[in-house]
Symmetry: C2
Subunit: 419 residues, 2 copies
């Protein structure tokens, strides 16, 4: 088992102002899961001397090197050439790869450009990793106890090649012990509030790797990792999850790939209930999050974006008197918007949101970040929450969407418990 590895991304565009090497995030996770630490990573352009120097240095720091990019057909693509030069090996044209490339072009009714033939050149002694998603194959080379993996830079191709061809090679000695991860997601609490809640279990699990992370406005994540085989790690992670779930309580809404809108959607589907919205300061953001979920039309009937006061009266059933007496940003208006949405769309629940997202519009009594959320339901008095949120316009709006979805979730959970 290789204990340490490094990652090298090749491409001058990665040294500019717009592009980052995101491939390394995927590779780090995959390598960690089979017990291989990533000790460093680097990006380099297509300069020949720079490329050779990076290869030599990377392999002096760790015996496994994963290189992405620079396998294309242009003059600037010379990862293979540099590796061949570094190892003192030749490049050989592979007739089988060449035929496959030509076939690819023929299928699209075109002749392969001569320049693409270069992609059929193989470093002597390399294992060719067939790329079913693109033209450039990957390569695996072993030399004096070191392993060099060459992968295309296109993420979609790189991921398939790594999973299908590289992982089996790296794990051929058996099921490896590695680092496995789990993420638990918490809504509506700040980082320090979550820290407070989990302190006792955190202390009890000192030997495990736990990180608390502010992931998005209104969402905090707990990141766990455990070493071992997938099965061993799973046992540890399950125990951690159980303890932290108990400590955090109902604000913990999901894990790993689950989203808050997905969780709310599933609860609505399961209960057969429907919702409608009346949004002011969020201007459609809550609706757009709900409708990110395929099939959301089964439980989300619609919403009104009532940005202007007149629209609040006309389309959310808010009375002009309430507006005049309490102002647009008030509990009363939020409650009337919620009731209006429920009545107008004929849903089980209606949610109303009004607030001051900023940068203008604040006052000493109602500073920027003041938001009123209300939920109107048939069976009871409904819910109301007043928030005073930190941050800029975008942050206030995003935090509010999480709080709104959480209000719907709270209602559904309580309703389910009561049944």
């Amino acid at each position: 088992m290789t204990p340490a590895s490094s990652i090298l991304a090749v491409g001058s565009e990665l040294l500019g102002t717009t592009r980052l090497d995101t491939n390394s995030l995927f590779l780090a996770g995959e390598l960690e899961a089979i017990g291989i630490r990533v000790v460093r990573k680097a990006c380099v352009g297509d300069d020949w001397d720079d490329l050779l120097a990076e290869l030599a240095f990377a392999l002096s720091r760790a015996p496994l090197l994963v290189v992405t990019g620079g396998l294309g057909p242009t003059e600037d693509d010379r990862t293979k050439e540099a590796v061949a030069a570094f190892l003192g090996r030749g490049l050989v044209r592979d007739e089988e790869i060449l035929e496959r490339l030509r076939e690819r072009w023929r299928k699209r009714g075109r002749e392969m450009p001569a320049v693409n033939a270069k992609q059929a050149d193989v470093v002597e002694g390399a294992v060719v990793l067939p790329n079913r998603r693109g033209t450039a194959p990957g390569y695996l080379l072993e030399d004096a106890g070191r392993t060099i993996v060459l992968l295309p830079g296109v993420p979609w191709e790189m991921k398939a090649l790594f999973t299908e061809c590289v992982l089996p090679h790296l794990t051929r000695g058996g099921t490896p012990a590695g680092v496995h991860r789990r993420v638990l997601k918490v809504v509506g609490l700040g980082e320090s509030a979550v820290e407070e809640l989990v302190r006792p279990v955190y202390e009890a699990h000192r030997e495990h790797d736990v990180t608390i992370l502010a992931a998005a406005p209104g969402e905090v994540q707990l990141h766990f990792s455990a070493r071992g085989t997938a099965a061993e790690a799973s046992t540890v992670l399950d125990a951690l999850e159980a303890d932290f779930r108990a400590a955090v309580g109902p604000a913990l809404f999901g894990r790993d790939d689950e989203t808050l809108e997905g969780v709310v959607g599933r609860l609505l589907l399961d209960s057969g209930l429907t919702v409608a919205l009346a949004e002011s300061c969020t201007g459609g953001l809550i609706a757009s999050r709900l409708t990110e979920v395929p099939g959301s039309s089964a439980y989300f009937l619609g919403g009104a974006v009532t940005y202007a006061n007149a629209a609040k009266v006309a389309f959310a059933g808010v009375s002009p008197e309430t507006l005049a007496r309490h102002g647009a940003v008030s509990e009363e208006v939020a409650r009337e918007m919620a009731a209006g949405a429920r009545r107008l769309f004929g849903t089980a629940a209606g949610l109303g949101v009004t607030g001051i997202a900023g940068p203008g519009g604040g006052s000493p009594e109602k500073p920027v970040g003041t938001v009123h959320l209300a939920l109107d339901v048939a069976e009871g008095p409904g819910r109301h929450e007043r928030l005073v949120l930190p941050g800029d316009r975008s942050m206030v709006r995003r935090w509010t969407t999480s709080a709104a979805l959480e209000m719907i979730r709270g209602w559904l959970i309580e309703r389910g418990d009561a049944e």
Copy 2:
């Protein structure tokens, strides 16, 4: 003038699965603008040997090294210590920094923890760069023709330190020639359509660096760069911009930091006109883009998210007959939604959108990605567009928002021209 530089980000979290070194994007732009190429960049954890090896290698590749991170108060923060060891220099406690640190803590009514005193240690001979946004100062070291800059990893602190302290040092020889950038933004055309349009001017400007980039669903960007002083580059970029604007035509909506929703908002403000929406497949996304702009309440009165067919009838004034005869995804329904939005909100224009975002709901006649957009206005027959968009649900929805904003923009431009 230093011709070449490299960037090193220190922190074990940068080798994991979630965090990328985004500081390097800012640094690359700043360095390029004063004529300093970035030839490589790397990330390393807090292992002592790894850190020393990275410093030595980086300085062997370029005489200027910018290091970010590892200046905090914990045991894992040892960038300064490693640089001192690498240069064979000592660390000296700086009483002035120490007093400033203590003062910072006192102001918050707290005693400085003993561990923070470490942040007052300075590598012998280093220039201290005061950090007005945080606790850890930056440092600048010169040694045998090489320059090492140490900056905190927090972007907000790092940027201020670089701009205020490092740039003046690097440019002390005079106004330097460097690489300056400009971005032009195009909506509603694919990458290859833009390529086709600009080919003649592209050929005429072969000596300049021009890149065409698919930036977001529905948006293509042209990236230009030019060498010289800021003034020299500006002349070149202005000429490039004029030629490419002429070649692309009206689909070119803005440059650099301008957004499509911002441009549409400004046109609406200037004309004193108002809009309202009726959205189906985009489920509030168009409204949320319009309302990202502060002050949008002046021209965006509201919208209806009519996800269910019943809602299209009740809140967008679509007739049940039209729905029955043409189906929810049709030109007729889009036009009735647009007219309904305009009538209900009393705006100058109403925009209606209906489509199939997927993954379900497609048919041979109306495949997933089919979208109808319509704009209803008082002064004429309005507009309609049928799109068949590629990609998944998220892509179709995002592309549609750009097409919708572009439809409003097209109307406003034509109206302005007619006046």
